[in-house]
């Protein structure tokens, strides 16, 4: 039998946010398996932590949890494209055995290697009040009736994993901007759709007025291209933008 097929990984590494001097590319050759993805390739490094030239090294670190693209943990740049590493199948991204490059997202503070700190996204969810104002978890009978159409509009929006793809791809997100980003705006749309969430729509819309709000969108439309859950982010921004404008113009009349 021919020598076992290998996969070449090129990984951008750095030991910590302050340790700029440790920023480096390391290359690894790992044995190929059927149905292999980027995560299982990285796992191979843990079992035999040596670079392609045989030098002993420390295994690469990365974030992962569900491995089926519903938790949003393992977002990174795979061959320069932002996506989840678990659903990046080796045979698809490297059909002829081309080297695969892995790098951390660039729009978030680096923690180490492929791990970045996405806590700003969760803070943004607080900022836009992405929740239904519940009276309590005690029994209050059935919820409000909703048409199947309403559910069909809400459900795709509700699949946002806070994975960071849209933030990474958005040209408006950078060190100098406070733009909340497409994910948070889309969740405002979601909660403004819900029959009782609607009652607090104005509060949510207020958070999106002014700097960092919906008007900071530069309409590049990159977000919708990279969203792994195909959430209609551009539509959401348009819908919420209209709601914000209406609130700004007529809000005082409505309240």
């Amino acid at each position: 039998m021919a020598e076992k097929k290998k996969i070449r990984l090129k990984v951008l590494r750095q030991d910590g946010p302050e340790e700029r001097g440790t920023r480096r590319w390391e290359e690894f050759d790992v044995p190929w398996h059927p149905q292999m993805n980027v995560i299982s390739a990285l796992m191979e490094i843990q079992k035999d932590p040596r670079t392609a030239d045989g030098t002993k090294t420390v295994p690469v670190v990365w974030e992962a949890s569900c491995l089926e693209e519903v938790c949003g943990s393992c977002t990174m740049l795979v061959n320069g494209k932002v996506r989840q590493a678990c659903s990046a199948l080796i045979d698809q991204i490297s059909p002829d055995g081309q080297p695969i490059t892995l790098a951390p997202m660039s729009k978030f503070p680096l923690v180490r290697d492929l791990i970045v700190d996405r806590s700003r996204m969760f803070d943004d969810l607080k900022r836009v009040k992405a929740w239904v104002q519940l009276d309590g978890s005690h029994e209050l009978g059935p919820g409000p009736r909703q048409s199947p159409e309403n559910q069909e509009e809400a459900y795709p929006l509700s699949r946002c994993m806070t994975c960071g793809c849209c933030m990474e791809a958005c040209p408006q997100i950078n060190d100098r901007s406070s733009f909340v980003g497409p994910h948070a705006i889309s969740l405002v749309r979601l909660y403004n759709l819900h029959p009782s969430g609607k009652m607090h729509a104005a509060e949510r819309l207020e958070t999106l007025m002014g700097p960092g709000g919906v008007q900071d969108c530069g309409k590049a439309q990159n977000c919708v291209e990279v969203c792994p859950k195909e959430i209609p982010l551009v539509d959401s921004i348009a819908v919420v933008s209209r709601q914000v404008t209406k609130q700004m113009l007529f809000g005082w009349l409505l309240t």
């Binding site: 149905q35 079992k47 295994p59 089926e68 938790c71 969760f122 978890s137 559910q151 699949r159």
Partner: protein
Amino acid sequence: MAKPTSIVTDSGKVRRVVVVGGGLAGLTTVIKLCEAGIPVDLFSLVPVKRSHSVCAQGGINASVNTKGEGDSPEVHLEETVYGGDFLANQPPVKGMTYAAPGIVYMLDRMGVPFNRTPEGLLDFRRFGGTLFHRTAFAGATTGQQLLYALDEQVRRFETVDVENEKGVVIRGEKMVRKHELWDFLGIVLDEAGVARGIVAQDLKSMEIASFPGEAVCLATGGPGIIFGKSTNSVINTGTAASAVYQQGACYANGEFIQVHPTAIPGADKLRLISESVRGEGGRIWVPKDPKEKRRGRDVPESQRDYFLEAKYPGYGNLVPRDIASRELFLKCFHEGRGVWNDKSGKNELEVYLDVTHLPKDILHKKLAGVLEIYEKFVGEDPYTNPMRIFPAVHYSMGGLWVDYEKSADGRLVVGSPRNQATNITGLYAAGEVDYGYHGANRLGANSLLSCIYGGMVAGPAIATYVKNLDKSALDVKSSVFEKAANRERERYAAVLQMNGSENPYKLHEELAAVMLRDCTIERHNGVLDDVIAKIDELEERYLDVGVTDASPRANQGAQFVRHLKNMLVLARVIAQGARNRDESRGAHFKPEFKTRDDENFLRTTMALYEKGTGGKSVVKYVRGLEYGLLGKTVRVTDDVDISLVKPRPRKYETAGAASHAVSDVPPKEPKASAKTAVRPQTPGGDA
């Protein structure tokens, strides 16, 4: 020390409860505590929005009877107990099934986008082990949707100020403080053995610290990663449960591990294909000709063997998971009838799960999330090609032993501090990490329910406990916390020093290989002896591990070594429990002992940790135990409470067998009689 009367101490410090784990059970516990006015420190291995609950697909059970089939919480109780082969204590199950409709309504109010009927009501679908439409669902990503709804409510509490009993705001203190990306190391025990907080490690800075807690609730999920590849997230190593087990907590029914019949074989994970696929009409089959070379879609109807439908005409493709998994295993492993693969020249361990006969628009509305996973990870269109699937380790029915207090009507006494309490005073557990609701086999769509119900019970139980404490954790000597943190710091330093020759990831691979092969669907005593010998060997070799990473930041290598040790300890509980139980019950199947033996084994396996020699752990099994609670001593035994549904053999060949004995309840429990059972609908939860 004066008995604390306020949630704020005289010196202005806020008394908090520690909740570990941010999945459905943990988040529900947090919400209940906040509503009771008790602030929380919430710890999680991952940002809570990424907890393993996201992986649940199919739905959540609640007998709302929207379809007018005569379903009721009483039938739900009956079928859950029957499906669990009568090993579950029945009062907690009854509490859960009666609370279920209220739980689903609450989730709906929180904004979960449940699928709807044309009238705008919640839609329900079928799941395993029942003939009723009982499962509410949000597409095929229900767990994700439920988790997000609870996550959002908890996030709201992150913005709510702490107030004392007089409504005075405590500046700078919020109801919930989240500590995400922290690894639980152990509980802090005071001189009297009462849990007074936890020790945890920040996974970015690797700093180890102790945190006081008036009580601690573990909601840390299952231990699936002990089996290597499973449907579980990679974080599900069971490390937290194992840590408190080693600190004296009792672990119950560890040997009951659910193998889900339908998952996609994969290199890093076995991705679940939800039971809801069969609930919506999906069918399992293999070609009648074992050497069938045509693709699944090209095999004509007459040449397919729908073996579950043939053998179990009553429940067909929706027999409970333990039975379906065994049948698939029998078909592929023993009969060699798995799908033929021309490339490999053999019958693979795969059968077909087929939805190609169902209308595409229905599939899209109800199952898109799960079919998308198949499409993405297999690269084949499941709308036109039958899916190829095989069983995979999925869920642990066993877990930390937890108590309950039974009410007069056979449910739980709401707010009793015994509910969800472990045998370590002040330590509670809820969710998959507890053993309480599923007996020997869990029915599909009951796990989301038991997680949320567990949290709804744990919250008020802990609130009662905290309000009746003699002494606050904040009044415990600081040296107790320092000592606990220092002990963990020393342990961690010792791990960083490990420079032996064994690779920890390879040791895990060896453990997983034997656990998966020999301790899942079929168990033989001789083989189990070998499994235990292997665990002996691995615990010895663990001492010679070389840590792969010694760096001070985001050190996953050292963290994994710790988890590995904890997995080895829990693996022994599972394997030894299986070895000891000489019968077949639910997910535990021994060909040498094919039948259920109620006389000898209708009892809870209760395991306590003992330190052995040479790095090895020892499991001590007990028939009962006692623990202290608010000045009283509680005594419990391993007897199972079967007061509501009388045990009988399971017969899924016959339609309705799981529920037909609703009228057959022992007369001594009049409230659970047939009269209750035939009530058309009982919304509302625990009275």
